[in-house]
């Protein structure tokens, strides 16, 4: 079909690559969430403050986030090699890809968190203050529940972005479907494997987006 020869395809290899992609995706999504959510909350809270030193903290964090977001991922992977080595001990394979993925995606997710928290009605936050809520209670009982649909949409966008990041990490031997596509398609001109890999990634993104949309709809009360 279309000049593609499926007989020579090593399905076992594709299976392993798919599993690797899912592993990278799962682990980096979890750490991105753990790291990005507090940074996003911090950005939001600091941006509302009128106190001088808090504004300074905001400016610094905001600047770092912007830097990490402007460096192309492929360069970030290389630049972060010492950091990756320090954290997980290796700089290649599934494990070696996770730290750069998290460091690239967490600032991105933090911005999405900040934006969705801004969407929360100020009046509701004020009402909570008027009822004697502490800052922590405002975050956990007002901001996060009220912003839940926005946060879920943010997680979906971030995970989809991570799919394309994992593919890029194939360039440096990161493993997974992207790696497979590049090795076969780009270096060896074996388009069949490349196309299968890409189709798998498309399906993966579609499934993630559908699941995300469904969750957002489920939690939207407006």
């Amino acid at each position: 079909m279309w000049g593609l020869d499926f007989s020579s395809v090593d399905w076992n290899e594709i299976g392993v690559a798919t599993l690797d992609t899912l592993k990278m995706l799962g682990a980096s999504a979890v750490f991105t969430f753990i790291l990005g959510l507090p940074i996003g909350i911090l950005l939001f809270m600091a941006s509302r403050s009128t106190t001088g030193w808090v504004r300074a903290v905001y400016a610094v964090i905001s600047f770092i986030v912007n830097i990490l977001r402007s460096v192309p991922f492929i360069i970030l992977i290389v630049a972060l090699i010492p950091v990756t080595k320090a954290i997980v001990g290796v700089t290649f394979g599934v494990l070696g890809t996770i730290p750069p993925l998290v460091i690239a995606a967490a600032p991105f997710f933090a911005r999405l968190v900040e934006t969705s928290l801004r969407e929360v009605d100020r009046g509701v936050i004020e009402a909570a203050h008027s009822m004697g809520a502490s800052t922590w209670q405002v975050i956990t009982r007002v901001l996060l529940p009220e912003a839940r649909p926005g946060l879920l949409a943010g997680i979906t966008i971030t995970v989809v972005t991570l799919v394309s990041y994992t593919a890029m990490s194939g360039m440096v031997g990161g493993g997974g479907l992207g790696d497979l596509a590049i090795r076969y398609g780009y270096y060896r001109y074996e388009t069949t494997v490349m196309i299968i890999s890409v189709i798998f990634m498309i399906v993966l993104v579609q499934l993630l987006q559908m699941a995300g949309d469904r969750l957002v709809r489920h939690f939207t009360r407006k």
Binding site: D121, G123, V124, A127, H129, M131, R141
Partner: protein, 338 residues
């Protein structure tokens, strides 16, 4: 109950600073419904938000229930705020929580036990009449129902004071009246002090005991609603009162006598049970003067009936003078108009 001392609130700094409140003093008694009326931009919203320090005054003191809020630590202030309920123009409910969870919110903030929360919330849902809507989300409710949730939520922590920030301004007239009735009911049942700010004289007239008129960051007139409403002194107050009675000035022509003899236009104010007595007809029968009603209102201020008539008396000069004297003798307020 609430004492504001030399309250000043300035926004901005230097030349661009604007003063929302300038050295305002106010005293609100326990158990009363106190209204603050003012045009938009008069500082009324800032005023009520200063009462629980949602807005921190630039200088001055805020005393609620014998505690100086302005002097408290953050932690103590959070505890004191639990004794001050507040409802808002736009309700400010959690859109992600049901009616039940919204009302339970302040109780959960105060870390009350599950059984206690449930008992209290059920009681409040019944109080505001939302038994059929307990599991609905705010988006599924009407404006009036949302404000009922707001009221129930504000009452959950058994406050000493309820602050109402334009609580009925987003509601239609019928819904406004039902919410006002609920507030009055709560005030009487729990002897709860209620402070409300509004730009509608109707709201003040319906449920308030005392009123303050705020203009350009200061109180220009203050007193019992009957006094302020029937005898407004300040131009701003007169504006509001006229707006509520929605009457133009009587035609100048109407003040002229229709036949021969003298004529005199007078504004007569009845208050309390006198409103429904036949004082006017009895008096003119005795003095022999005639009268025509040029303009009039008979209504109630909270539960006090009042009437205000502009009447043209006709007849001999002495007949008219005798009529006016007799009316005053019987405790009516008679004001000769030119």
């Amino acid at each position: 109950m609430i004492e504001l001392k030399q309250l000043t609130k300035r926004y901005g700094q230097g030349a661009k600073a604007t003063e929302a409140l300038s050295g305002l003093d106010l005293s609100i008694h326990k158990g009363e419904i106190f209204g603050v009326i003012g045009h938009s931009g008069a500082g009324k919203s800032t005023l009520i938000r200063c009462m629980n320090l949602l807005e921190r005054p630039t200088s001055g003191e805020v005393w609620v229930g014998g505690v100086n809020l302005t002097g408290l630590s953050k932690q103590r202030l959070q505890n004191e705020r639990r004794k001050i309920g507040m409802i808002f123009q736009h309700f400010n409910l959690l859109s992600s929580a049901t009616v039940y969870d919204n009302i339970a919110f302040p109780l959960r903030l105060a870390r009350k036990g599950k059984a206690e929360v449930e008992a209290k919330v059920n009681e409040l849902i019944a109080l505001v009449g939302l038994e059929d809507h307990r599991n609905k989300y705010p988006a599924q409710l009407s404006g009036g129902q949302k404000q009922r949730v707001g009221i129930a939520r504000a009452l959950a922590s058994d406050p000493q004071v309820l602050l109402c920030d334009e609580a009925t301004s987003a509601l239609d007239p019928q819904t406004t009246d039902s919410i006002l009735k609920l507030l009055l009911d709560i005030n009487q049942r729990f002897n709860l002090t209620i402070v409300l700010i509004t730009h509608e004289m109707h709201v003040i007239q319906s449920i308030c005991d005392r009123v303050a008129v705020i203009h350009q960051g200061g109180i220009v007139e203050e007193g019992a609603v009957t006094d302020v409403f029937l005898k407004p002194q300040h131009p701003v107050t007169k504006d509001f009162v006229r707006g509520e009675q929605s009457q133009g000035e009587p035609l100048e022509l109407a003040a002229q006598a229709s036949g021969t003899g003298s004529a005199q236009a007078v504004k007569i104010t009845f208050l309390g049970s006198k409103t429904y007595e036949s004082i006017l007809s009895r008096t003119v029968r005795e003095t022999g003067a005639d009268f025509a009603i040029l303009q009039g209102t008979i209504s109630t201020i909270k539960d006090t009936p009042y009437g205000q008539l502009i009447v043209r008396f006709e007849g001999g000069r002495d007949q008219i003078d005798a009529t006016l004297a007799k009316l005053s003798e019987q405790g009516l307020d008679v004001e000769v108009m030119n």
